[in-house]
């Protein structure tokens, strides 16, 4: 590993997951923050950087900092969708590197399941670019992902069975994770026979709608070496976005992870072949296929064949989404923070029955919007 030991993940935690009523999104974040900081041997008073997105408030980092009594030296409420938290980790790295902060706290929380706030679209007047997309009855966010899936099938002959491979393998990982929301095994046929949502995507091609939150603590190299848990070093990061609305996506089968991944690998001095465990935002099965190609784990158009034969399942030669992913573990609206939490636990070797033996390098990739944004982190242990 060529990267300087600038910053490391020193604490991670999920909040309660699944259905958490009557807890609020802010409570979930606060409880996760306390637990993640405790893991790092730190308290709220040690935090000098706060990074957050979403939830149900304006200026997410201001909201959680106020709630916890933190006055940060560095703040970031960047919201580029579900990838935000992976981007935040990169920002925290750069802030620590340039001396702007020492202890960065990233949080997220949502009660979208309890609140039944998830809808497939809005009514009424459409302004801005929504004038041209919001008037057609395309269900959001599944519809845009379905458009990408149709195009991938058209260009490369990708099949529904190949998409289903991802859902089935991810569910197998979930059966090994007591915190996963859906733990009953499923088959390829179950996926293909589940009802259409937005063709060619079936119900079981889609992520869950759950409550949940999480927190990640990133500290300077100096502090990381003093911590009781082994540091999980940030070796590389990258971020990008190519569009907001799906009509403006330059190429429906190329996600911005092609940019964020290249940047992260270049910074780390590593290649996809060096990665032992992969945590990808799996909002939909097609998201995973497109991301595998964009990150260079397989060639363009080859992802369907790549995941076939349950290659990404426990015991397969490409362990991916080892917590059960957004498809089966939890998906509270924005999932990116959970890729960091699971990658960290895998590198610490504390994942119990789902532990990838000897994992030394992990990749976490967030996707936001409608394949709009991507943020990639390459992580390693000593």
């Amino acid at each position: 590993m060529t990267n300087d030991r600038v910053a490391a993940i020193a604490g991670v935690a999920e909040s309660d997951l699944g259905e958490v009523a009557p807890k609020t999104a802010m409570q979930l974040q606060a409880e996760a923050a306390r637990e993640a900081l405790a893991e790092a041997g730190l308290g709220f008073a040690d935090v000098d950087a706060v990074l957050s997105a979403g939830g149900d408030t304006f200026a997410a980092s201001m909201a959680i900092a106020e709630y916890l009594g933190i006055t940060p030296r560095y703040t970031d409420s960047t919201n580029i969708g579900g990838s935000s938290f992976v981007a935040h980790a990169g920002h925290a790295y750069r802030a620590i590197q340039t001396g702007l902060c020492d202890v960065a706290l990233i949080t997220y929380g949502s009660t979208q399941r309890s609140a039944a706030s998830r809808t497939l679209g809005r009514a009424g007047g459409m302004r801005g670019t929504a004038q041209f997309e919001g008037v057609w009855g395309l269900p959001a966010p599944v519809g845009p992902y379905a458009l990408a899936a149709t195009r991938h099938m058209h260009e490369y002959g990708t099949t529904g069975e190949q998409l289903a491979e991802v859902a089935v393998a991810t569910r197998k990982w979930a059966t090994l994770n007591p915190k996963a929301f859906m733990r009953d095994p499923i088959t390829i046929e179950d996926v293909l026979e589940s009802r259409w949502i937005s063709e060619p995507l079936h119900l079981l091609d889609c992520c869950l709608v759950t409550d949940g939150g999480g927190a990640v603590v990133i500290v300077s190299g100096e502090r990381a070496r003093d911590a009781s848990l082994p540091p999980v070093w940030i070796l590389g990061h990258g971020e990008s976005h190519t569009h907001l609305g799906i009509s403006s996506m330059p190429d429906l089968t190329t996600t911005p992870a092609v940019h964020s991944g290249a940047a992260a690998f270049a910074m780390a001095g590593l290649t996809p072949a060096d990665v032992d465990v992969v945590e990808l935002y799996d909002s939909f099965t097609i998201t995973v296929l497109l991301t595998l190609e964009a990150l260079g784990f397989c060639g363009r158009g080859e992802s369907g064949a790549f995941v076939s034969g349950q290659r990404t399942a426990p015991g397969g030669d490409f362990p991916m989404n080892t917590n059960g992913g957004g498809l089966s573990y939890c998906h509270p609206g924005m999932y990116g923070i959970f890729t960091l939490i699971e990658a960290t636990r895998q590198l610490r070797g504390e994942s119990g029955p789902r532990q990838v033996e000897g994992a030394r390098v992990a990749l976490a990739n967030g996707t936001g919007g409608v394949l709009s944004s991507a943020a990639t982190l390459v992580l390693g242990r000593d």
């Binding site: 497939l120 009514a123 459409m126 670019t129 004038q131 008037v135 009855g137 458009l147 259409w196 799906i246």
Partner: protein, 131 residues
């Protein structure tokens, strides 16, 4: 059908929607770099000028991709299944639309289509075109 989503034009996009209300598909073309631009903008994303003119599009294009919607947003539930598509116009711009006058199962990527302005609110739908 309850309240449908409807477009709220702004100063830049008004000519597009005026065209639609007249049954004409108009898009922008940059006088500087000669490229067509959609959605309508105040600045050309290719050459940074503001010298954009409105031209009548041929209305002809091809389906770039599509999805058959089965689980619709609340105001569209009585219309499923229906086809939402991305259409590449011959002028080189892409727009989202709904396909009409076609069985959803008959739609394929690459299919030739043409504009079919209709509905309430009046919108630029597309339908199959011979060739």
């Amino acid at each position: 059908m309850t309240e449908r989503a409807f477009p709220v034009p702004d100063a830049v996009t008004q000519p597009f929607w005026d065209g639609v209300s007249e049954g004409v598909l108009r898009i922008q073309r940059c006088r500087e770099c000669d490229r067509h631009v959609f959605y309508p903008r105040a600045v050309c994303p290719f050459c940074m000028t503001s010298d954009l003119e409105w031209v009548e599009a041929s209305g002809a294009g091809r389906v770039h991709s599509f999805t058959i919607v089965h689980r619709a947003p609340p105001d569209y539930r009585d219309e499923v299944p229906y086809v939402v598509a991305l259409v590449d116009l011959d002028e080189g711009v892409r727009m989202m639309t709904r396909l009409v006058d076609v069985e959803p199962s008959a739609v394929v990527a690459g299919m030739a289509v043409e504009a079919a302005i209709q509905g309430e609110p009046r919108l630029p739908y597309f339908r199959p075109r011979s060739g």
